[in-house]
């Protein structure tokens, strides 16, 4: 059975590193890659009436843009490197949603980059890598 990597990908330089790392691993081990892009979203946030009205349209736009601008290039890159690759776009809490995708896909490892915020900033705003390490159901690699 081949090894499956879920890569948390948002298009940033850090996440490119994570993708590169996962591609290299998958190639070496004959594994597959799932590129996952999560749009931060909470069903408990507050919206104005105007935003509520436009939400459905906005969501379609956001999904289309994420697919086209972020996911496709990444999937293309991995495929070109000769690795079997799939892509997922989701809404939700980033760390929790990555874990969920991981379970659904039956993946063996999660790979994410890190933004290298100062300790203070991570304390205040939290960090995806930090919370992911705490809750991930499978081994989690944080690529610097």
């Amino acid at each position: 059975m081949s090894v499956k990597f879920v890569v948390g990908f948002d298009g940033s330089a850090a996440s490119q590193n994570a993708l590169d790392f996962a591609i290299a691993r998958a190639k070496a081990q004959g594994g597959r890659v799932v590129v996952a892009h999560v749009l931060e979203w909470s069903p408990y946030s507050f919206l104005t009436p105007q935003e509520i009205e436009e939400r459905h349209g906005r969501r379609s736009q956001e999904l289309a843009r994420a697919e086209e601008m972020i996911l496709l290039p990444a999937v293309q890159k991995a495929t070109d490197a000769g690795v079997e690759t799939a892509g997922v776009v989701r809404y939700g809490h980033i760390a929790q949603t990555l874990c969920k995708i991981c379970k659904e896909e039956g993946a063996h490892q999660i790979v994410v980059g890190r933004h290298g915020h100062s300790e203070m900033a991570s304390r205040v705003f939290g960090s995806v890598a930090g919370s992911l390490v705490q809750v991930a159901p499978v081994p989690c690699t944080v690529v610097p």
Partner: protein
């Protein structure tokens, strides 16, 4: 909403007009308005023969009772399910990123929770005594069924456009629902509703809010020109609704629930500090509800005040909530009906009751020790320090915490702001229903709306506000006629949903 608030303490704090010139202009506008629209105002707020009970309040309460019976007390039987829906237990995870039930409820609530919960309750209790609380809670509980009916219809008959936006509300269900049932007159009712909704949004949802927010500021900061409050309010609201600066609104929408929680929390602390009085307070509420405890009009007096407060506070039957709730993403219109029935509960049964309890428990109202009845002064219950309206609430909270009146003033301003944002949207929806959608027509409405904020806070245009309050309740006349005709449709939806829920066809996701 809020009609009789004018007689409250805030109104007394309003600055007298700034200059004689402004006064004469105000006078002229007042005179023209009073003479041309007075009949309409008297018609809407006319009392039932031989009583001082406004028929419009009876209209709302009877409707609430009819819907409660017709749907076999859906508000109690499905209360837990409503909470499960809000928590997202039944939301498909694949729909993440769409408007959730929680968001629709929170936004609709920010439009109704406001001045009435703080000051209006004080007026009701100050005239009707502790017993008014009982009738207010009863009317609030019944009103849940009205909300359920109108919001289900709002979602069912909304218009969905190609760009993904949605328009809904009574104007749409009156048109489409009546056509579907083969009934005549739907279009006429819809147009009437839209006209009243626009006028109501200018008055109760705008000028009145600005006016009272300025009053609350003056109460804390001392007298200053209403023009300042008006211009600042108008500029901020314009930035949000026409400039697309949604971030300001989002900040308020975040602060408002926080203020509501803070308000209820403070009230709870005061109640806990007087925990030994709680039995006595509920004794007063029940005794007052059935004997009147000497208030003007006795039991009926207490009942009128309580019913009035509930009807004006939670807007059940007015139709505004149906506009707010219609944009939620769901395949089952009835689920939004369930969620919306929590609105009168939170607004009236929880928040209004907290205000009432604090006033009763801090013993602001003077009781005659020999009879156990209230001391009456000029038709009102005598209070410690002779306060009434928002000043009574402030005194009650202030008796426990010295800083409370300032927090209350901040709360009033924020509630007024969020209510204006919500009503600008309701008014706009009615406006585009009549005049079509388009940047220019929408900008005309938005500009007009913001100019009226300045007018509202800078003046005390009694007859103008009277008229727009009457328009707000005229919305309820049209809307409830529609609801009576369309309720079988809701019943069908309800039966089908409940049977599928029981058979397990509708599943929990979480």
């Amino acid at each position: 909403m809020l009609k009789f608030m004018k007689y409250s303490g805030i109104a007394a704090l309003l600055p007298l007009a700034n200059a004689a010139q402004a006064q004469s202009l105000e006078q002229a506008v007042n005179d023209v308005f009073a003479s041309s629209t007075g009949w309409f105002v008297s018609l809407i707020f006319a009392t039932l023969p031989g009583t001082n009970f406004p028929w419009i309040v009876m209209w709302l309460v009877v409707a609430a009772a009819v819907f409660s019976l017709y749907f076999a007390f859906v508000q109690f039987r499905n209360f837990r399910h409503a909470i499960a829906l809000v928590r997202g237990d039944y939301s498909d995870p694949n729909d993440a990123g769409e408007v959730s039930h929680f968001q629709a409820l929170a936004t609709a609530l920010s439009g109704t929770v406001g001045l009435g919960n703080i000051a209006g309750v004080a007026v009701a209790v100050g005239i009707g005594g502790a017993g008014a609380t009982f009738w207010m809670i009863l009317a609030g509980l019944l009103g849940m069924a009205t909300k359920f009916t109108e919001c289900t219809l709002g979602v069912k008959y909304r218009n969905e456009y190609e760009d993904g936006t949605v328009s809904g509300g009574p104007m749409y269900y009156l048109t489409k629902g009546f056509a579907e049932r083969g009934l005549p007159g739907g279009k006429i009712l819809a147009v009437l509703f839209a006209v009243f909704c626009i006028l109501g949004s200018f008055g109760g949802g705008n000028m009145f809010q600005a006016n009272q927010a300025h009053g609350a500021l003056v109460g804390v900061m001392g007298d200053f020109s209403g023009l300042i409050t008006g211009v600042v309010f108008a500029a901020v609201v314009f930035l949000v609704i026409a400039g697309g600066v949604q971030s300001i609104a989002r900040v308020t929408e975040k602060i408002v629930p926080f203020m509501a929680v803070l308000y209820v929390g403070t009230a709870l602390i005061i109640i806990l500090m007087n925990i030994d009085m709680i039995g006595w307070a509920f004794g007063q509420i029940f005794a007052g509800a059935f004997t009147g405890l000497g208030v003007a009009g006795g039991v009926v007096g207490a009942l009128i005040q309580g019913f009035k407060r509930a009807a004006f506070s939670n807007e059940a039957g007015v139709g505004s909530a149906a506009i707010a709730h219609s944009a939620v993403r769901t395949n089952e219109p009835i689920t939004e009906g369930f969620v919306s029935l929590l609105e009168p509960f939170i607004d009236t049964v929880v928040i209004c009751t907290m205000t009432a309890l604090v006033i009763i428990i801090t013993q602001q109202m003077i009781v005659d020790p020999t009879t156990g009845n209230y001391m009456i002064e000029g038709g009102k219950i005598a209070t410690v320090g002779g306060t009434s309206g928002v000043a009574l609430t402030q005194a009650a909270f202030g008796s426990a915490f010295g800083f409370a009146p300032t927090i209350l003033a901040i709360a009033v301003v924020l509630f007024a702001f969020s209510t204006m944002i919500s009503w600008s949207y309701y008014g706009l929806k009615a406006w585009t229903f009549l005049f079509g959608e388009g940047r220019t027509t929408e900008l005309v409405f938005k500009t007009l709306f913001c100019l009226l904020i300045i007018v509202g806070s800078a003046s005390s245009l009694g007859p103008v506000i009277d008229f727009s309050d009457a328009a707000l309740f005229a919305m309820a006349v049209v809307n409830i006629i529609g609801l009576y005709f369309l309720m079988p449709i809701v019943k069908r939806e309800l039966d089908s949903y409940v049977s599928r829920l029981k058979s397990g066809q509708i599943k929990k996701f979480n």
